[in-house]
């Protein structure tokens, strides 16, 4: 009994204590990540979608673009669980292929926004002065345009295509990241650990990467997750208007646009892709909300999200 008691109080080296603390916070973090209902539900939905996007097309017996005019506008049945469209194509197959298009576009556009926005925010916040003032005016200018309007004009001027929608959605929308990152950098850049790194002669680039970036990344992750949902919505909207994916590409917005003439006779043509879009956006929104509770309890990104 007394032996065990003594054992628990064995002297540990400071390094070991630090390691123990680190391990403890890490597992606590993993625990709160695993038990957060938003992260669980949203994460499951997003993973399911990713699985569908990657493996779904391999399982379907139909070609998403091959026309079968003898099977036009068939109501949902066992052979075609979501019916067929005006050209006899299987709607379920097209929706599954559409998941690839939407997710790939959303991930690519978000990645570009994150890289541009975070870099600009880091540079502006860390360097300050004139550079900061100039970059922040750039941010203000971008935020002066409603996102969809700007993306619509850029995509339209470049010419209607999926690639151009991706370009348009990448170059707008980074401003929110820049603002969030800059705000956080301003908060941490005068803290002792950054000061210490500076006195130690660490190059500025390395300070930004090793000391500032890890401290600003959480709200960026939350914002990016929410953004994935918004981009899926906006891209579908642009495609619906005819600016994005062109027929016969299976894209959810384009499918809704193609189905609107048959609203009365074949309502599944409009309903099915809409539900697919909604499920995707719900997944990202719920996951984002959950991540925010875990990663960013102070809701730093929320104010920015409202503006974009």
């Amino acid at each position: 009994m007394s032996e065990r008691h003594a054992d628990e109080h064995t002297w540990r080296s400071p390094d070991a204590v630090l390691e123990w603390l680190r391990e403890r916070t890490r597992s606590q973090f993993a625990w709160s990540l695993r038990t957060n209902p938003g992260v669980r539900f949203g994460g499951t939905l997003v993973c399911l979608l990713a699985v569908v996007a990657v493996f779904g097309p391999l399982l379907s017996p139909y070609d998403p673009t091959a026309q079968a005019l003898e099977a036009r506008l068939e109501a949902p049945s066992l052979a075609h669980p979501l019916g067929t469209d005006a050209l006899g194509r299987d709607v379920a197959t097209r929706i599954v292929h559409g998941a690839r298009v939407s997710l790939a576009l959303a991930v690519a556009a978000t990645a570009v926004r994150v890289v541009i926005g975070t870099t600009i925010g880091l540079v502006a916040g860390y360097l300050g002065g004139l550079v900061d003032a100039a970059l922040m005016r750039l941010v203000d200018i971008q935020l002066a345009f409603p996102g969809l309007v700007l993306a619509l004009v850029i995509a339209g001027v470049l010419g209607p295509s999926l690639r151009n929608v991706m370009i348009a959605l990448s170059v707008v929308g980074w401003a929110s990241y820049a603002r969030v990152v800059r705000g956080n950098v301003l908060e941490v850049k005068d803290r002792p650990f950054v000061e210490a790194a500076r006195l130690y002669g660490t190059p500025r680039r390395r300070i930004a990467r090793r000391h500032l970036l890890p401290n600003v990344i959480n709200p960026v992750v939350v914002l990016a997750t929410m953004n994935l949902g918004t981009i899926v919505l906006t891209a579908a909207g642009l495609s619906f208007l005819g600016l994005g994916a062109q027929p016969p590409t299976p894209e959810w917005g384009t499918m809704i646009a193609g189905g609107r003439e048959y609203l009365r006779s074949a309502p599944w043509l409009v309903t099915a892709p809409g539900i697919a879009i909604m499920a995707t956006v719900i997944g990202f929104n719920v996951l984002g909300d959950g991540l925010r509770d875990v990663l960013d309890p102070d809701h730093l990104e929320e104010r920015e999200r409202r503006r974009s």
Partner: protein, 302 residues
């Protein structure tokens, strides 16, 4: 503010110059479906001042804008400002109606959910709000047309002019906004309900109903009203798509048609008006925010 406005105008004007290749050539090519001759391209350029260098084109456009002249459409005889004035009222009507719909939905739902926090009422309304923000509004528009216009025959499917033409577009545009506002009302109400003056009112024996609706709600709505103003951009963006769904003439349909026709002066006009309206609203909201709540410091938000 003035730097931002200058940047906005430069970006608005410059946007159309990212056209791949020569704008004049592309416009003529797309318009007639066959490659235009060099002479035609040159004539088009000369007619619309496209043969001058970018800076002087921009400056002459800008000086026109400052005098209220936004140029003339490439394809229609009307000037851009006439077109804007013709279509703007329709869009404003839709935007205001959508704001009314969203507040009418969001304020009661948000308050009830805050008062009955963590009950089934609260959860249901939160799920409804989640569905609302996650739904593509053009899709909701078609669902409403399908049910209300086609099945029930209650409203016309498209067009504008009467109140019955306005109902469905306003609901379509208003629901997405309502979802956002519901969350705001709920959060703001929860904060207020925990404030000391609410406790004071309660301890004086004021009835709970009065506490909620007289003392708390009034204060909870202050931040909500200002943030609803910030959602103006959301409403404008949404109006573009909703107008297309319901085939309502407005700034949105004007912009989409102009983008497809590459009618650049019209595109520039609509984008400029939208951006300026957006900047001014945000500025007003910031001012209102400071005026209503002196604890907020100016600077960070500007």
């Amino acid at each position: 503010m003035s730097i931002v406005m200058a940047g906005v105008s430069l970006l608005t004007y410059g946007l159309v110059f990212v056209t791949p290749g020569d704008p004049a050539y592309t416009i003529l090519h797309e318009r007639r479906g066959s490659p235009p001759s060099d002479a035609e391209v040159a004539a088009f350029r000369a007619e619309h001042g496209l043969d001058e260098p970018f800076v002087s084109q921009y400056l002459s456009w800008l000086s026109g804008v400052l005098r209220g002249d936004l140029g003339t459409s490439y394809f229609r005889s009307e000037s851009v400002s006439t077109l804007l004035l013709q279509y703007l009222p329709n869009t404003l009507e839709l935007a205001v109606a959508a704001m009314i719909v969203s507040l009418a939905l969001a304020v009661p739902v948000g308050v009830v959910s805050a008062v009955h926090r963590d009950t089934w009422i609260d959860r249901t309304s939160q799920i409804a709000a989640l569905l609302g923000v996650s739904m593509p509004n053009f899709w909701l528009g078609y669902l409403l047309i399908l049910v209300v216009s086609l099945q029930l025959g209650l409203t016309p499917t498209s067009g504008s002019g009467t109140l019955s033409h306005l109902v469905l577009p306003a609901i379509t545009l208003g629901t997405g906004l309502a979802a956002i506002v519901t969350r705001l009302v709920r959060t703001s109400m929860l904060e207020v309900l925990e404030a000391e003056y609410v406790d004071t009112a309660r301890s004086k024996g004021v009835r709970e109903r009065l506490v909620v609706y007289k003392h708390a709600l009034r204060n909870a709505l202050i931040p909500v009203v200002t943030i609803v103003g910030l959602q103006f951009g959301f409403v404008l963006s949404g109006a573009v798509v909703v107008e297309v769904v319901f085939q309502r003439p407005g700034l949105g349909t004007l912009l989409v048609d102009a983008v497809f026709a590459r009618d650049y002066p019209v595109v520039q006009g609509v984008v400029l008006v939208t951006a300026v309206a957006f900047v001014i609203t945000n500025q007003l909201v910031d001012l209102a925010y400071v005026a209503l709540d002196p604890r907020i410091e100016r600077g960070e938000r500007a």
